[in-house]
Amino acid sequence: MKLPIFLDNHSTTPMDPRVLETMLPYFVEKFGNAASRNHAFGWAAEEAVESARKQIAKLIKADPKEIVFTSGATESDNLAIKGVLEMYKEKGDHIITSSTEHRAVLDTVKSLEGKGKATATYLPVDKFGMVNPDAVRNAITAKTILISVMLANNEIGTINPVKEIGKIAKEKGILFHCDATQGVGKIPVDVQEMGIDLMSFSAHKIYGPKGVGALYVRKKNPRVRIASQMDGGGHERGMRSGTLPVPLIVGFGKACELCEQEMAKDTARLITMRDRLEASIMKELEESYLNGHPTSRLPGNLNISFAYVEGESLLMGMKEIALSSGSACTSATLEPSYVLRALGVGTDLAHSSIRFGLGRFNTDDEIDYTVKKVVEVVTKLREMSPLYEMAKEGVDLKSVQWAAH
């Protein structure tokens, strides 16, 4: 086993060597511009792009013509939301979204609100982080033109009832955008069955290269139109100008193909490892709390709050394991995770949270090592924690008058 261990697969993933292999010829040898229609270099590039488009579309049960390449999921979210708002402004300006969306969605919506271009409803989530479809239905007004709800959350892994939300959107004739960055390639996605009209996802979360993503834009029932946010050569059917990054797209295609072929195997492995990690930690450490949904959760996700210890110090004690925390100290804002807060997790426990993100290349040995290390460090830091000491003495921490600073 090699150190450090990478257990932060929600942030990014290592590229699958098989993906890299398919990309390599497209840097030096087949370097053509896919938009060059008059020579062999261009044709080779175009062929590679179209073949990748097919692989990507197949993974999400879409038509290849419905795939628009972007630089990543953040751009896809921006393009979908701003593009729809601009295109359909005569119909209305109201967006329904949820409070636990990624900031690429939340900040896009807030920016539109700030400019007076949109009004928005931010739906709360239940204690497991799930959006209630009835709440979506109840939030719809005559002015609503877009619903944007994520497939799976990046911190807690909770999988939303997207199919139900899609059904409501269809019934009311409202477009449905889904940020599926964490879900695509990890769980089955079917844009038809889920009633999704626009969907954002990216390559680097599924063992592909960084710098490329896609926006699915429905072509039929209804034909969705978006205003482009990047002017230029009119690539991607006018929705996103800019020369296509052929090697990245080829890698993206291969990554999708591998996910499709290996999803069942990967999922089974990840769930076994994740459940073992969870059970072993919970057995050894009292007052550890699972954040997120107990069952409707991404296979590789585990988010736990360890009462009485602060997240950043936990990460510091486990430097040889790459993890992430909802603690404020790991962000620039000094506020702990807004996702955990939206679930109703207390600020104290939000500061104490650790996200484990398992992926295709993690091994059983790494999980064993992680369990041992987590137990060791949490125990050590609890010994050091005045809160743990007080709790052991029977002091109710909620009743203490803290000198907040």
């Binding site: 602060e310 110090s313 004690g317 620039a332 702990p336 600020t347 050091m384 924690s385 809160l387 743990y388």
Partner: protein, 132 residues
């Protein structure tokens, strides 16, 4: 974010971690911060003849908060009450090479020192009044 070697050293080998009994003679306890803010420091001093003979801490917080309080206990030992009053958060920032986002950890440590000294003073004054 990269931590300075000194922060890492205090984090891995905390000095004077632990607790005195709060009602023990000559012990002053300062507890500052709040769990909601992500850091709570408990700093205790043991005073004999106006000199701090021992100090202990327990901290809930990030690595820099733990290091700041650990360093504070090191500095407090052997100082007189008057000398201890003069420890400034900026001294801690400098010694531990804390980045701007971690300055609040040093402020908290200074607050904890002040609170422990005040608690000791209060207890000492109380004992004096009782004796009279």
């Amino acid at each position: 974010m990269a931590y300075s070697d000194k922060v890492v050293d205090h984090f891995n080998n905390p000095r004077n971690m632990g607790s005195f009994k709060k009602d023990e003679e000559g012990v002053g306890t300062g507890m500052v911060g709040a769990p909601e803010c992500g850091d709570v420091m408990k700093l205790q001093i043991k005073v004999q003849n106006d000199t701090i003979v021992d100090a202990k801490f327990k901290t809930f917080g990030c690595g820099s908060a733990i290091a700041s309080s650990s360093l504070a206990t090191e500095w407090l030992k052997g100082k007189t009450i008057e000398e201890a009053q003069k420890i400034k958060n900026t001294d801690i920032v400098q010694e531990l090479n804390l980045p701007p986002v971690k300055i609040h950890c040093s402020v908290l440590a200074e607050d904890a020192i002040k609170a422990a000294l005040a608690d000791y003073q209060k207890k000492a004054d109380g004992a004096l009044t009782e004796a009279k």
